[in-house]
């Protein structure tokens, strides 16, 4: 569906290497996540795949069309929702949608079934100008406009950034329903907790891919045992654990600290407890826990 082979892009005469020889494949019908913080290169990657930017090196194809030679064909069959709202602010909801449908030689009526679930939520405001919509409504309109020409593959660049957890969950449920209609979806996000909603993910940082796999198998590859540690005094516990000889990694995760040890032999936990007791930590709880994608990302960071 999408094949990326060592694609690169730099800006400012090569001073900023936004994407560095990135390769991965996306299969037909997949919900594929590109996960990474701001500046990882997600937007540049998506802009190359949607034929809006030319790569400096490497190659890629979307729906078996080359992103440089066959850009017109890709534009006909791919949908793209940029991270920044880019519809016409002074056209109404309906006018925007009509405009995009017309560009692709279709009509709202013809493809209404594709957008119905999403469009009915904004239809009551169809005469409102797009610029006057709330964030959540703009996002839904942008998604409808990206879908109206019945794309076979959809690129969504950070659709949930700055959106609260409840609305983010709703958005992912919309994506799941689109996937069930057979659309291949590539979505980028800085939120690590959204990774598990994807079939497969690519973790990205500084223009490079750190890992590509299913979320479950990225988690399974976490090499050490991960412990959730807690006491009454978390900041002091964190500082003492970071000074501990056998600590490999220790970071705060919500109400717990997540800890991995260098040596994990039989006595490791007893020794740890002794060390913490010696430093006046009381009521310490240490339990095994399953790593999250965020634990894995931190481990892979350079």
């Amino acid at each position: 569906m999408v094949t990326v082979n060592g694609i690169s892009k730099s800006f400012y005469d090569g001073k900023v290497q936004a994407v560095k020889s990135v390769s991965f494949d996306v299969r037909s019908g997949e919900l594929f996540g590109v996960i990474g913080p701001d500046g990882a290169g997600k937007t540049t990657l998506f802009r190359m795949l949607t034929t809006l930017l030319l790569p400096d090196g490497g190659s890629a194809s979307v729906l078996e069309f080359d992103i440089v030679k066959d850009y017109r064909k890709i534009r006909r069959h791919a949908g793209y929702m940029p991270g920044r709202f880019s519809l016409y602010q002074d056209l109404t909801v309906e006018e925007n949608l009509n405009f995009f449908a017309t560009l692709f030689g279709t009509s709202i009526a013809e493809n209404y079934h594709l957008i119905r679930d999403i469009y009915i939520q904004i239809e009551p405001f169809k005469t409102r100008r797009a610029g006057k919509l709330s964030g959540g409504m703009k996002q839904k309109l942008a998604l409808c406009c990206a879908l109206i020409h019945q794309p076979r593959v959809l690129f969504l660049d950070e659709p949930t950034t700055g959106v609260d957890p409840v609305s983010r969950k709703e958005f992912w449920e919309m994506l799941k329903r689109l996937k069930e209609q057979g659309i291949t979806i590539l979505v980028s996000t800085p939120y690590m907790d959204e990774a598990t909603r994807c079939d497969r993910i690519a973790l990205m940082q500084y223009g490079e891919i750190l890992a590509v796999d299913t979320p479950a198998s990225i988690i399974n590859k976490y090499p050490e045992t991960l412990y959730a540690v807690k006491s009454a005094e978390i900041p002091r516990l964190l500082s003492d654990l970071r000074q501990y000889d056998n600590t490999l990694r220790c970071f705060s995760f919500g109400e717990h600290l997540h800890l991995s040890l260098r040596k994990e032999d039989g006595n490791a936990l007893d020794e740890l407890q002794e060390y913490l007791y010696g430093r006046d930590h009381r009521n310490v709880s240490i339990t095994d826990t399953t790593p999250t994608i965020e634990d894995c990302f931190i481990r892979l960071l350079k």
């Binding site: 990474g36 913080p37 701001d38 959540g136 409504m137 700055g162 409840v166 609305s167 705060s252 931190i298």
Partner: protein
């Protein structure tokens, strides 16, 4: 204890729309106070009243002892503010940003020099001091933006989603900076969409439809809502919302 933020039935109406509906809460000196809520719940409107940018419709509030109706200039002098959107000037260097913001807050040359040195060393930015802010990684930018927001040692710093889009490691380093400041007595008022960060607050409030529907420490709220995580607490509360940002 010294109360540095005090609000009493604070409200803001826009025509018939009640954006903030009689919110009452206090924040004590040195606290990290989390201000949560779904998009459209009224957080930004409430925050704008607290930092002296928007006049309340009714109710009372004082920030660092200054009244939000009459003493907005004094409020601005005694607080720091940082948001994800506006932080630093991209086409100024690291040091130029520090000097610029320090100058605005009226810091003297000698003081400013010492502070500037301290900040770049603390953040490991010493060798980047003369680089344009546009060219440094986002994570560093956000840490620098925080240090600049507290350059004038404000009593309270307001942080509006300071860690959005930042990588998980930098997000944690950012919180290390926050902790270090609260130990010196600074009060931190913060909004975030990361529920793990809600756990790092001493106390937090959750706004639903313009009201504060929950207020307490993370463990109190988890207990009160019979939830195993703040994520769950947030979902239980936000589900009650009638008003979405639609």
């Amino acid at each position: 204890m010294e109360t540095v933020i005090k609000t009493e039935r604070l409200s803001k109406h826009f025509g018939n729309f009640i954006a903030v509906n009689e919110i009452t809460f206090n924040v004590e000196r040195g606290e990290i106070f989390g201000f949560l809520g779904a998009n459209g719940a009224g957080k930004t409107t409430a925050m704008r009243m607290l930092i002296g940018l928007s006049k309340p419709t009714s109710g009372a509030a004082s920030i660092a002892g200054f009244d939000v109706y009459r003493q907005t200039e004094q409020i601005k002098r005694n607080i720091g503010y940082m948001s994800q959107r506006f932080s630093l000037y991209e086409d100024l260097t690291v040091m130029e940003n520090i000097r610029f913001f320090g100058g605005i807050y009226g810091l003297r040359e000698k003081m400013l020099k010492a502070k500037g040195e301290k900040i770049v060393n603390e953040l490991g930015l010493a060798s980047e001091r003369n680089k344009l802010v546009a060219s440094i990684p986002l994570g560093w930018k956000q840490k620098l933006a925080f240090s600049v927001a507290v350059l004038h040692d404000p009593k309270i710093v307001f942080l509006d989603e300071p860690t959005g889009g930042v990588d998980p490691l930098t997000r944690r380093q950012f919180w290390d900076l926050i902790y270090a400041r609260t130990l010196e007595g600074m009060t931190v008022f913060i909004t975030t969409h990361y529920m793990d960060e809600a756990e790092y607050c001493n106390r937090l409030s959750i706004m639903v439809d313009g009201r504060i529907n929950a207020l307490g420490s993370p463990s109190e709220l988890r207990q009160q809502y019979a939830a195993s995580s703040m994520d769950e607490v947030f979902f239980k509360l936000a589900r009650e919302a009638r008003r979405t940002d639609n």
